[in-house]
């Protein structure tokens, strides 16, 4: 497994970079594209692991199925579903963010540094490449969260959530080379259902409010 670590490190840096490109994009279509590329790299990481197990230990692990599920759902199905939703509910391009892009990028760099600082304080996490895996994947999670709070539209929030969960999957794969199978499947299907339900609610918000600007959802306060 240690031979693979430098290669995996490159891929996980790739995921971090794709997250930055997501934060830097203005239009919904370009978020979806960035998310698709990110999922593709995640699938590649899972593929590396399953090939490794197949060649070295001659067994097909659960992670191979995770690879397939990632390709089918996160690379193909969810992005095209989000595209369909966004074509149906919002045709106009308008400013969608609370914080402008240069400042967002600076905040995201700050988040990466913060994660690096925290991880470097914990000696048990710093054996071999695990420390840098941890920094990269937890930064992806935090940037996903930041993306969610900095966008006004429902689709922006869904994408942020998807990035956040890509980050957690990356952590699980890199740190523990996959959780027990039943847990891994359960998590995948839970998150998939969550995204589908969120998609349904986007339609409902669109029908009842005639917009999906969450900044204007202010009936319930206090």
């Amino acid at each position: 497994m240690d031979k693979l670590a430098p290669l995996l490190n490159i891929f996980s840096v790739g995921i971090l970079i794709s997250t930055f490109s997501l934060v830097a994009s203005k239009r919904i279509m370009s978020y979806i594209k960035a998310f698709r590329i990110q999922s593709l790299i995640l699938a590649a990481v899972a593929a590396i692991f399953s090939i490794y197990y197949l060649v070295e230990e001659n067994r097909l692990e659960g992670i191979f199925i995770i690879f397939l599920l990632t390709v089918v759902f996160k690379v193909i199905y969810i992005p095209s579903m989000l595209k369909r939703i966004s074509v149906r509910v919002e045709y106009k391009v308008e400013k969608d963010f609370f914080i402008n892009i240069p400042i967002s990028i600076i905040i995201c760099c700050g988040l990466v540094i913060l994660t690096w600082y925290v991880v470097s304080k914990i000696p048990e996490l710093n054996n071999g490449y695990n420390g840098s895996f941890m920094v990269q994947s937890v930064s992806v999670i935090l940037i996903g969260l930041f993306f969610m709070i900095s966008r006004k539209k429902a689709i922006g929030q869904i994408i942020g959530f998807l990035v956040l969960e890509n980050g957690t999957f990356l952590t699980a794969i890199l740190l523990t080379s996959g959780m027990p199978m039943i847990v891994e499947f359960g998590i995948f299907f839970d998150l998939l259902t969550a995204v589908l339900i969120m998609g349904i609610f986007v339609f409902r918000i669109n029908e009842t409010f005639e917009h999906i600007d969450l900044n204007k959802l202010r009936n319930l306060r206090g």
């Binding site: 914990i122 000696p123 048990e124 996490l125 937890v138 999670i141 969260l145 969610m148 429902a154 929030q157 959530f161 956040l164 969960e165 957690t168 952590t171 699980a172 740190l175 523990t176 080379s177 959780m179 027990p180 039943i182 847990v183 359960g186 998590i187 839970d190 998150l191 259902t193 969550a194 339900i197 969120m198 609610f201 409902r204 918000i205 009842t208 409010f209 969450l214 959802l217 009936n219 319930l220 206090g222």
Partner: protein, 492 residues
Amino acid sequence: MLFLLLIVPLTTSLLFWTVRESVRTINIINATGSAILFAVSLLNLKVVLEQGKITSDFFGGIFYIDSLNGLILFATTLVSLLISIYSIGYMNEEYKRSLVNIARLRLYYCLLHLFIFTMILTTITQNIGVMWISIEATTLASAFLVGFYNNRKSIEAAWKYIIICSVGIAFALLGVILLYYSSVISLGQTVQGLNWQFLNDNAGSLHSSILKIAFLFILIGFGTKVGLAPMHTWLPDAHSQAPSPVSALLSGVLLNTAMYGIIRIMTIVNKNMGNSQFTGSLMIILGLVSIGAAAVFILVQQDFKRTLAYSSIEHMGIIALGIGISSALSIFAALFHIINHSLTKSMLFAASGNVYLKYDTKKISKIQGILKVMPVTGTVFLLGIFAITGMPPFSIFTSELGITISAFKEGKYLAVGFLLAFLVLIFAGFSSQMLRMFFGKPHKDHGIGEMNRITPVVLLILLAIITVTGIYLPSFLEKLIKSAGDIILLVH
């Protein structure tokens, strides 16, 4: 026997789709399903009381019941039974007024039992990963129930609910991954790597610093679902917008199951560190912040369902405080408080549902004379308000007293000072806001009398239980709570 706990609610929820037109059949399936479920859980509890625990070999032993989750299971199935019977009265009334049609009614009951299924799955699993999955599944099953009325406010509440809870719980997933990582590096990769029993038995050999971070993430994540401040913002919206039976389940059962997840992981961390200082102080701080936040919002609330929702945050805070103090008495009181809160709060939400149906508003200022208009609901609601604010002879008084005494005994004077001050504020808030609904003359003529015969009966049963347990604790419950407390205190 163990698997029946999962099969019964799942089959019940599927059976509704076989019904075409008859509301009566739907009601019968609903009532029998939850009655059988309660009976099955009692049988399981009997085994737990006799043998200490139930295990199975399924998937490396992911299902496991001991007295700690037995207690939560008891509260879950008891409240589910009473609330699904209450649902019959409530939803029939909505059906009569054609607020819902038969298809929506079917969907409602199907999701309700699916929701109960996911909560039971959370309760009876010992695999922390499966626990995470099922807690996320509770959000998914109840999101449409929260947004059931499909109007502006309920959709907003449902959106907030699903987004905030999913994000919160994603942090818990990171915690679960770290927990598994610490188990992998110390104990190697096994199927049992996430099982509570396995982790608890080998707690000594896990890395403390990774475990601490894992606990922090899990506390934030599951704490979002428990409704601990400052992660509570979804809770008042979801509780106030959902149909009242669903609010009762959300508040009375769902919050407990998430709290149970935190307690399980806390025991591992405590055992690893050899004391409860780290987890205890976090729980005490979060608990006090929640009680304080709830007190402030209860004082200014205009909507009676929101007041009740904030009171749930308060009580979850009290439970967290009791668990955090970590003495034998405080843990006994906190576990007893879990049961008391779930029964009292579901009673109050059920009563508030009756009031809402009668007056068609949730604004406190628009409601007067409940006692005159609905004598049974009014009386129960009024007594329930005294019960929830901790007046004797109701059971919440007993458990809050236990927590207060134990805090004094352990020398947590600052915590107990804050607790008492906040409880006074909450009592003031409840009495100044809510009491005026009960007296005087109604603004409009709503017609005197209860809506139906089912809902008052449910309310009276719940009132009887909380009054009796306030004075006398049945021996089986006492034994269950004691041995559950021993699990948390690591006395074997």
